[in-house]
Symmetry: C3
Subunit: 364 residues, 3 copies
């Protein structure tokens, strides 16, 4: 698996400065690359690191050509990071299994496209449809009436239920569950009465779902993940959640029932978003955010306190609890009134206004 | 799958106002229902939405009959939400697989009840017992000596170990692990020495466990989930935890080792409860709660700060850290002393008490 | 499965006080043990509990021998907790399956060691190597080119990809995913462009990974878990994370990409550690810590606020938000200036310094 600079350059719509027949063995980081590898320079701030690299060739933007052309073969592109992303696909390894395993259990009514690979012990239910060029790994379970588009990548131990519909070019990583039952129970006389979930899950095109995620089916309507959304690992998407186009959700985030997240949002890892909220387009949440109210304006939002030395933290928490009896603004008000009284004393030290409403300035 | 109003009404112990032979195709939300569907009105606050609905029939409480009888067929019940929950089961789809798959690997010593369904490539170990009418999905692994009651629903890729005993009418969603080893290690000379876990897991009747949960076996004694408990997805239940009857735990909550949670508790999603604590009956935790001490009184508890605009949040965190050096009550004390001195100045401007212990009022 | 005190004592390098042929049926807690069981006394603070125990024998340290020898048979050791840990292995149950199941799908090029057990419907890819005495549970998927050392324990539904290399004596609990693709996407013109992940995962010896964990492969370099590390359940380890020797990570923790955690760290459950950080050796994080900056000094660190009664919490959060407009130190400064003015008034009540810069003392 080696490529000439010309081949690589064509793949990323770049131009070669240097020997276009130079052979590249691997794509590596600047620090790990050796003389037959290529690395990428993600902007001027990596210039020093680039100059020290042992790489044979670099992917750079036009403004760095004159600086680096003496030392390296170059592929020049608009966005080196994008070119790097595109080039990784040439160097990626391929899945081992081919064709449809004889041990896979495929219901006769299932419709399987051309050039589909299905791994050992996979179970494909009645009326399932799988589009061309899809890869279904071993031990996957796709239950009855699920529809999957073309060029899917569904890793081992994934479970898909609830007549889910999944678009084209969707990647679902190992051990993820799609379309299991939403957490819906009617409390009545001290017990929980299960609400059978009747909705489905609809996943658009070019969606990526990480490993060990849970995406529940809707209660009556559907749970919806729109085109181009990317989810990291261990993400919880509750029933009837909607996530808009090209939003990203980092690992271990939980989104509670019926919440709608707009397009082009970036949700930091380990965040928790309460149910029945609206998060508009373009919202970014930093890691471990706790969202209990709708966010109706694009921007960056955060919560939590960050870590402190344990001794200092204990004291800060004591202070935090004291805020419940004495908010900051109450202190501010007391200081303001006290200041006015001192102003008065300073201006007229012998003529104090004894009608001053002193009670207000006293701490409660 | 269509039902007459009479059939539906009988299922929820209600009474029909209108044409009892009217045929219902689907159960839908008020906004999505069309003329051959039924929807439910969850109290007077949904009255406007109900009046605008295209539903052919509604589930209502008695007080709304006169208002809605002109426009809709009605099923009248005590609790429309409960009736809705009950009615969902009539409209739910059924699992595809029937009987015991020829590809399932069932140990000859296992005792399988009547009318049990076992899916393809399921593995049932020695001395396992499974009660009547249970559904074991494809690719499930039930290890040796596990006992499961009747009417179980165990979805794909569930793993059950450690001689766990599971009651009747239990539902365990896909890719959940029950009875894997608890996280028990003795630290000794800078290394972790594994404590083989000898306890089991006991799960009562009518329990619901979501997808991708981990419920560990106990160290010496058992981990216990009592009757009627409902767990959402991605929940961690550590070794020797006990959860009391009819408690609910929302998604992504972690409960550390040996903690006991009472009955009728509601634990909000993404909460973390430390080990060796007691949470009494009737405690509610709001989402993302952090519990480091026992809670010995029923009530609603919360923690965290909620999300803020990132710029404001950064400033608030600075303030939070300053609380570790200067708690609120220290400020309050300073203001109080200063106020006393100003009182004194105002009362006797020319006769200040110079013995006043001024040091106390000075910021440290 | 019963053992004489002599047998047990030899296993933990202890000495018997009493009848060395006394037969022990089970290892139990002090409170649950009966007359043919053994329990352990973890230090003097458990002395009262020990005296009330029905156990036939106890594991104790030398200083407790005289106190307890009248009442119990004893095994005397340096560390009773360590001895308990070692002794659990004698009483642990064994996996049911033996040899290599005929239903397992093993690629002919895979090299399987001596005395390896492989469960039903396991899938072992091309060029996989598995060391002697390893146990691969049913339905595991080990993809092509993965290497696993000897004495491995790999539970049901584990998925291992990306040419991962795994050391000796490694235990991986059910439904964990190792070597799935890291969450790497280049944002370009409003869309996410997938970066195929080319790195691997390297796991050392004596490592323990809990159930439902996700450990991603590296982007270019590898994700590395060093010898003796123990991970609890539902842990997220992102691409290119490194975890040093003998560190412990409790359940539901997320470690974001490229973060390096040192040796002998203890990370509390449900913590979230941002990406590209350094945590040095010997750091402890209490539960639910939020780490957004590197920690460069050993010690104990914490974050969050702990749970409060909901009404008090709401008020405290209002106070927290007010900190963003008015940090504690601003209040402190105001009080300090006001105090100076009162000092001045008290010293010279009739001769106020009117040049005093009053503006500073006014609340903004």
């Amino acid at each position: 698996m080696s490529y000439s600079l010309e081949q690589l350059s064509r793949h990323v719509q770049g131009t070669v400065h240097g020997d276009s027949q130079f052979q590249i063995q691997q794509l590596k980081s600047l620090t790990q690359a050796s003389s037959d590898d290529i690395a990428f320079v993600n902007g001027e701030k990596y210039l020093t690191q680039a100059r020290q690299s042992q790489a044979g060739a670099l992917i750079v933007s036009a403004d760095l050509v004159t600086t680096l052309a003496d030392q390296f073969q170059l592929i020049v592109v608009d966005s080196p990071y994008l070119a790097f992303a595109q080039m990784t696909h040439l160097f990626a390894d391929q899945a081992e299994f081919e064709g449809v395993a004889s041990t896979a259990k495929i219901h006769p009514s299932a419709i399987i496209g051309a050039n589909v690979r299905i791994g050992d012990f996979a179970v494909i239910g009645a009326n399932v449809r799988i589009g061309d060029n899809s890869q279904i790994f071993p031990q996957v379970h796709i239950a009855e009436n699920v529809t999957i588009g073309h060029s899917a990548w569904i890793e081992s131990h994934v479970s898909i239920f609830a007549k889910a519909t999944i678009g084209d070019h969707v990647r679902i990583h190992a051990n993820t569950v799609i379309g299991s039952e939403g957490f819906g129970f009617a409390p009545y006389q001290g017990q929980w009465h299960r609400i059978a979930q009747l909705g489905s899950v609809r996943i658009g095109n070019q969606v990526r779902v990480g490993s060990n995620c849970s995406i529940d089916r809707g209660a009556l309507d559907d749970t919806v993940i729109d085109d181009g959304v990317i989810l990291d690992n261990l993400v919880q998407v509750a029933h009837n959640v909607q996530i808009g186009k090209h939003s990203a959700v980092a690992a271990k985030t939980a989104i509670a029932g019926s919440t709608e997240i707009g397009a082009n949002c970036i949700i930091g890892g380990a965040s928790a978003i309460a149910g029945h909220l609206t998060i508009v387009d373009g919202v970014q949440l930093t890691g471990m955010s706790m969202v209990t109210k709708s966010i109706l304006q694009a921007g960056v939002y955060s919560s939590g306190t960050g870590s402190l030395d344990n001794t200092a933290w204990k004291k800060a928490v004591v202070g935090f609890r004291q805020l419940s009896a004495t908010p900051i603004n109450a202190l501010l008000k007391q200081i303001k009134l006290l200041t006015a009284r001192v102003d008065q004393l300073e201006s007229h030290p012998n003529n104090v206004d004894t009608t001053h409403e002193r009670a207000n300035t006293k701490p409660e």
